[in-house]
């Protein structure tokens, strides 16, 4: 199955994926296989999968580093005799720096460590945000970990634990960040090191921080706790710049006013007027006219809860828990809130039940009671339409 002439694996199918203009992952594995037998066997096994239209990994096992319950995904080939170098092929999830900024040195350090201990293959990055170091053996886990640690890196989350929080680039490069996403992400990550490394929950718990409602980290779709920046006061308008955009050909009425979800803007050909009371802070107008419009000055975030992928009761989007928290109060508010949420989840959650599913099961009202939050109409798209109200029997339903 290898090419007899050069000892290189014969990968007729995968080779077809070296063609075409888009960067090729096959080229990458081939590059790594220059220095790593593991990468070579990965290539071989993958070619087999392509031939047979079938994966060749066994269901993972529990492996890890000393004292941690997570951060490593155990992986074994189901064809260990044929592909001995990937007989063990665990990934290590390394907690990325907030905002995914690196210096070239830091990047090289990771490369060097991984070249020594693993396959030399990485994901930059995993879907949760981690640096994924792809493929090593059990005995290499601890040494890799310690080398990483000496260089300032730690493992990320896996299993029923806090997962590596992530955030948008925020204040580092974006004019719209309504709170400091990278700082909050970093602070939260540090605050929950124990919960991140030592799975003690019923299931995973993800945090994601987006600086404004554009939500460049998909927090509302992919985090148990989604923090999305917003503002409370009026949109800041630079009339002259609006006029410039118009002069430059932007059709303010059509491209801005007509697309405002609440149609709360007026354009008389000269001046843009906004009835901010009706603004839902969707960002559209600001997105189209970045030089002219900016979020207001009273900034903070909406806190939402419960997003997840479909398994098992269908996918969920996070829903509003606190309509507005001022930026400076975010860390404290989150810490207090998360404590209460975890207590409730701990007490009432069943095995492998995400917090969003728990809320679906027990009902938002019961959840709010449990964590001691007052209901507000901002939490719902609409009040209930069924008359099936569980009145407190004690007081006979009187409010």
């Amino acid at each position: 199955m290898d090419d007899a002439s050069n000892g290189k694996p014969k990968t007729e199918l995968l080779d077809q994926l070296e063609e075409g203009p888009w960067p090729s992952f096959v080229k990458e594995i081939k590059a790594a296989s220059q220095g790593s037998e593991k990468a070579t066997d990965l290539l071989r096994q993958l070619e087999r999968s392509y031939e047979e239209r079938k994966g060749h990994w066994k269901h993972g096992g529990m492996v890890g580093v000393l004292g941690y319950g997570g951060g490593v995904i155990g992986r074994y080939s189901d064809l260990p005799e044929e592909f001995p170098q990937v007989a063990h092929f665990h990934t290590m999830r390394v907690n990325h720096p907030a905002g995914w900024f690196y210096t070239s040195d830091a990047l090289r350090t990771i490369c060097d460590i991984w070249e020594r201990h693993g396959s030399g293959m990485t994901n930059m990055h995993g879907s949760t945000g981690d640096i994924i170091l792809l493929g090593t053996t059990t005995d290499q886990l601890e040494p890799t970990f310690q080398e990483l640690a000496q260089n300032g890196f730690d493992l990320g989350g896996s299993g029923s634990a806090v997962r590596t929080p992530n955030c948008c680039v925020g204040m580092a490069r974006c004019e719209w960040a309504c709170f400091d996403t990278m700082k909050l992400c970093y602070d939260v990550t540090q605050a929950y090191q124990d919960e991140l490394h030592r799975p003690a929950f019923a299931y995973k718990f993800k945090f994601k921080f987006a600086g404004c409602p554009n939500d460049c980290v998909a927090s509302i779709a992919r985090a148990d706790l989604s923090v999305i920046g917003t503002w409370k006061d009026d949109i800041q308008v630079d009339d002259a710049e609006v006029a410039n955009y118009a002069a430059a050909g932007v059709d303010i009425q059509k491209e801005v006013c007509d697309l405002c979800p609440t149609k709360t803007m007026g354009w008389d050909g000269k001046k843009l007027s906004i009835d901010n009371r009706e603004c839902v802070h969707c960002m559209h107008c600001i997105n189209v006219l970045p030089k002219a419009l900016r979020p207001g000055k009273e900034r903070g975030a909406v806190v939402l809860i419960g997003a997840k992928a479909p398994i098992m009761q269908g996918a969920l989007l996070s829903s509003v828990l606190i309509p507005f928290v001022p930026a400076e109060e975010l860390l404290d508010t989150l810490k207090e809130l998360v404590k209460r949420i975890w207590d409730f989840w701990d007490e009432y959650g069943t095995n492998r039940e995400r917090v969003g599913e728990l809320i679906q099961r027990v009902g938002m009202p019961a959840f709010l009671d449990g964590i001691g939050l007052e209901p507000v109409p901002e939490m719902v798209a609409a009040p209930r339409d069924n008359p099936y109200i569980f009145f407190e029997t004690k007081n006979g339903g009187a409010k």
């Binding site: 995914w100 930059m124 493929g135 040494p143």
Partner: protein, 361 residues
């Protein structure tokens, strides 16, 4: 080859502080950005209150990368931007330049290395995806191979900004949907279509029966004994092939080369811009699993992108466009067949029925 750590064991230090990695210009203007402009596809210019300008050059990566390639990026960062770079939430790489004059040389170097510059503004960005046959036991298909095949076909959509709005594609290799498949403009999802094959012999050794039973969303799994040992049986008609049983129990494999395939979903989004975030909805229930280049999947995705590009209005995301013209029009325009599989029959199905007489003819 292993270098054993000599110093005392270090744990729970968390990630490095991000400030260590910020370019000086970013540190200086942190939180003081005023506005931005897109200078060209893949090239952003952020202007600070101070008047400083930061130039970003964004290039696609295959995400699955060898350390060799990462070192090349590090070299480019050294060469053009003081050794600073970042990755985006969609696996692109960004070089952060102080000097505008470095933009073109950097772009040339990237072109030479084969990393396209683009993905900004109203373009198609990189495909968020998952492990596939490269690393996951759960995969109904490969991920990287499909991403490569689709992006080869849609290359120009990445390097040009001529779409109605931002376009986000996601790919997941099984129903666990590691990524953003459930809320993407277009999503490609690996699926099983036959029930798990219970491995009665190993089952009692590797799983807990009650947990296994609880794992099934439809209650298709019942306790049973097999040759005197505890096992389970499956009500096949109740199985919709989600694979959750396999996640909790290795003795319930679903992989099946003949019957695994792909489905295509459309119209999701996560931003709050204009419309609220939306789930992706089923466009094509089943396409065959044809490595190495999945022509059926590529065709379907390209079809959607072309029809969208042609028909949507400026700033209309895929889902917003479809909601405006209506789903019947979407099926007409794409030529995709509307089947019984498109009609929801899960928990909230009733709410997806057309409960009004408002119809286009």
């Amino acid at each position: 080859m292993t270098t054993a750590p000599k110093t005392p064991r270090i744990t729970d230090i968390g990630p490095p502080h991000y400030q260590k990695f910020l370019p000086p210009l970013v540190k200086k203007n942190y939180g003081q950005w005023k506005y931005h402009e897109i200078l060209a596809p893949g090239v952003l210019c952020h202007v600070a209150e101070s008047g400083d300008r930061l130039y970003t050059v964004r290039a696609a990566t295959p995400r699955l990368m060898a350390v060799q390639t990462l070192r090349k990026f590090a070299d480019l960062a050294d060469k053009y931007c003081g050794g600073h770079l970042r990755f985006t939430s969609r696996n692109n790489i960004e070089f952060l330049l102080e000097d505008r004059n470095n933009i073109e040389p950097l772009k040339c170097d990237l072109a030479e290395l084969g990393f396209p510059v683009g993905g900004t503004g109203n373009s198609l960005s990189n495909i968020v995806h998952t492990q596939g046959w490269v690393h996951c036991h759960s995969a109904a298909t490969d991920a990287s191979g499909i991403v490569k095949s689709v992006m080869d076909a849609l290359y120009d959509r990445f390097t040009h900004q001529d779409l109605p709005a931002k376009l986000r594609i996601a790919m997941a290799c099984c129903l666990n949907m590691c990524g953003a498949v459930h809320c993407s403009d277009i999503a490609i999802l690996g699926i099983h279509t036959v029930p798990p094959k219970i491995q009665h012999a190993t089952l009692p050794k590797v799983c807990e029966v009650p947990t296994l039973i609880a794992s099934c969303p439809t209650g298709a799994i019942r306790p049973a004994t097999y040759e005197g040992k505890p096992s389970v049986e499956l009500i096949e008609e109740q199985c919709m092939f989600c694979g959750n049983c396999y996640t909790v129990c290795p003795a319930m494999p679903l992989n099946d080369p003949e019957h695994d395939g792909l489905s295509i979903w459309v119209g999701g989004k996560v931003s709050n811009a204009r419309s609220a975030p939306k789930f992706s909805k089923l466009a094509v229930p089943f396409l065959p699993n044809h490595p190495p280049r999945w022509p059926e999947v590529v065709d379907a995705v390209v079809k959607i992108v072309d029809v969208y590009a042609k028909n949507a209005r400026k700033y209309e995301r895929v889902g917003e466009w479809i909601e405006r013209v209506g789903w019947p029009r979407f099926f007409q325009l794409t030529g995709f067949e509307f089947t019984r599989y498109h009609i929801d029959d899960f928990k909230h199905a009733g709410l997806t029925y057309a409960r009004s007489a408002q119809i286009k003819y």
